[in-house]
Amino acid sequence: MRGLPRQPLAIFNLLFIAFLLAPIVVVILVAFTPEGWLKIPTTRFSLRWFYAIAKHPEFIAAFRLSLLIAATASVLATALGTLAALGLIRSRFAGRDLVNSFLLSPLMVPTVVTGISLLYFFSRVGLASTLTGIIVGHVIVTIPYVIRTVSASLAGFDQSLERAAMNLGANRPQTFFRITLPLIAPGITAGAIFAFIVSFDELTVTLFVSGPKLATLPIRIYNHITYITDPLVAAISAAIVFMTLGAVLSLERLVGLDRIMGSQ
């Protein structure tokens, strides 16, 4: 197979990647500016805006809140999502496809719609503007990612290993904890990391259910840049980008990104 000439495509690929990375690179560069405005530094670099973060306790508090929410929501979503993925792959029943679509449907419904329906629902049951409400919303949004990731790792799972364990006298719980779980552990970890990233970054649903008092990091940043734009937000964003990069590299190590993203 020869295919089309590779050289023009390779040049296009470089330009395309430049387009994709441009806004991210610019934010990181501006974070190191010594100036007081959004200037891309050319000669001098400075860490002054990173130090400035320490002088803004509201961003630190928002960061802590986001960590707390993302940790709780990702643990819950990973538990629910892993069980569901195991249930989906192990059972054959009439409505299986329907259940599968239902469990993935939070990805299909626009987040604005999820946000307003939760706000209305929470305001009726007393969960509006509460931490619990935000976590409940984040679990909804992140469950599909866990199910997809764990299902992807289960797809390559060799069930004969389980049969071998049971033939050798292991009971069902023993087989699960000593054979199945260790084998799908990378998939579960990847699902948890994925859920954590999505929850940590969630803005739309949170905007509706969080109320005026609870501000996660994305909400703080959003409110900040809608009326003032300074390099402070760039420094905070750059710090988050470095953290996310670490998380994503571990995801790629654990399962491979193409398997998670491509398995729809």
Binding site: M1, R2, G3, L4, P5, R6, L9, F12, N13, I17, L20, L21, P23, I24, V26, V27, V30, G81, L83, A84, G87, L88, R90, S91, R92, V99, L103, S105, V109, P110, T111, V112, V113, T114, I116, L119, Y120, F121, R124, V136, V139, I140, Q159, R163, I197, D201, L203, L207, F208, P218, I225, T226, V233, S237, I240, V241, V248, E252, L257, G262
Partner: protein, 287 residues
């Protein structure tokens, strides 16, 4: 060996189904009912079913205009995502190993990086004194800075950036599925690379093109963060309008009606696409 039908499988689905049933499905149904309620000038909600909210959307040119703008933006985003995504997907199929993994991470980077961060990046790039405008002025393409932020152009750029990965992945998946022997056959029979591409590869990748376009279009229709930051109150889209009705005007029934029309519209596109798949003239291609 299918003998291992495990009755516990159904129980495993229980917790997730209950969670989504209670906190996702029920709220959606309640919101459907809310969209038929009336908003009282005193700020309350009158629980009497009526269709005034829907009539208001379809008769007021202000709301219709915002719907049309959202559709226009989404169509442009889909077009640009296709023009950029196709060659990239084609290039990806020729890569192996480490190079492929690296390019794939770069392609997925807009999805991985925080929405606020990447949109803020476009905000810096597209500003009147930003890098893009400096380039335009330096190249003499325009005498005055081009209005890129707080305009539809900016929203189209920002949305194309974040949605093009979905297009690349869809087309890439379709290209991976094509039978390499068909391409080889065309080449053996003397077809040029360009002709092989146009007459074999391109038709075979059509399912990926269509699936990717539908996905990008629906996601663009309902996008919130990017148009909110790059357009805001100056260039409203439907999702932003819903946000305003809910959190600023506090007219929840009307906001719910707007949101439902948005959902119905995108669902119609998706369902229409599946119908077309099943009995369209591309029947044999999609089999």
């Amino acid at each position: 060996m299918k003998a291992r039908e495990w009755p516990g499988g159904l129980l495993l689905l229980g917790p997730a189904c209950l969670w989504l049933g209670a906190f996702f499905l029920i709220p959606l149904v309640l919101m459907l009912r809310l969209s038929f309620y009336a908003f009282l000038p005193t700020g309350g909600i009158q629980e009497a079913l009526q269709v005034a909210n829907y009539v208001k959307v379809f008769t007021d040119s202000y709301y219709l205009g915002i719907f049309l703008r959202t559709i226009r933006i989404s169509l442009l985003v889909t077009l640009f995502a296709l023009l950029l995504g196709y060659p990239e997907a084609y290039y990806l199929t020729g890569l192996r190993g480490r190079a492929k993994a690296l390019v794939l991470i770069a392609v997925l980077s807009p999805l991985i990086v925080s929405a606020v961060t990447r949109t803020f990046g476009w905000f810096i790039l597209l500003a009147n004194n930003g890098l893009v405008n400096n380039l335009i002025l330096a190249l003499g393409l325009s005498d005055t800075p081009v209005k890129l932020i707080y305009s539809e152009t900016g929203i189209v750029i920002g949305l194309t950036h974040v949605l093009v990965p979905f297009m690349v992945l869809s087309i890439y998946a379709a290209l991976q599925r094509r039978d390499p022997s068909l391409v080889r056959a065309a080449e053996t029979l003397g077809a040029s690379p360009v002709r092989t591409f146009l007459e074999v590869t391109l038709p075979l990748s059509l399912p990926g093109i269509v699936a990717g376009s539908v996905l990008v279009f629906t996601l663009a229709m309902s996008a919130f963060v990017t148009p909110a930051i790059l357009g805001g109150t100056r260039v409203r889209v439907v999702a932003y309008l819903v946000y305003e009705e809910f959190l600023l005007s506090l007219n929840w029934p009307f906001g719910a009606a707007l949101a439902l029309i948005l959902v119905l519209f995108t669902m119609t596109v998706v369902v229409g696409y599946h119908r077309w798949l099943e009995r369209g003239r591309w029947g044999e291609v999609f089999r």
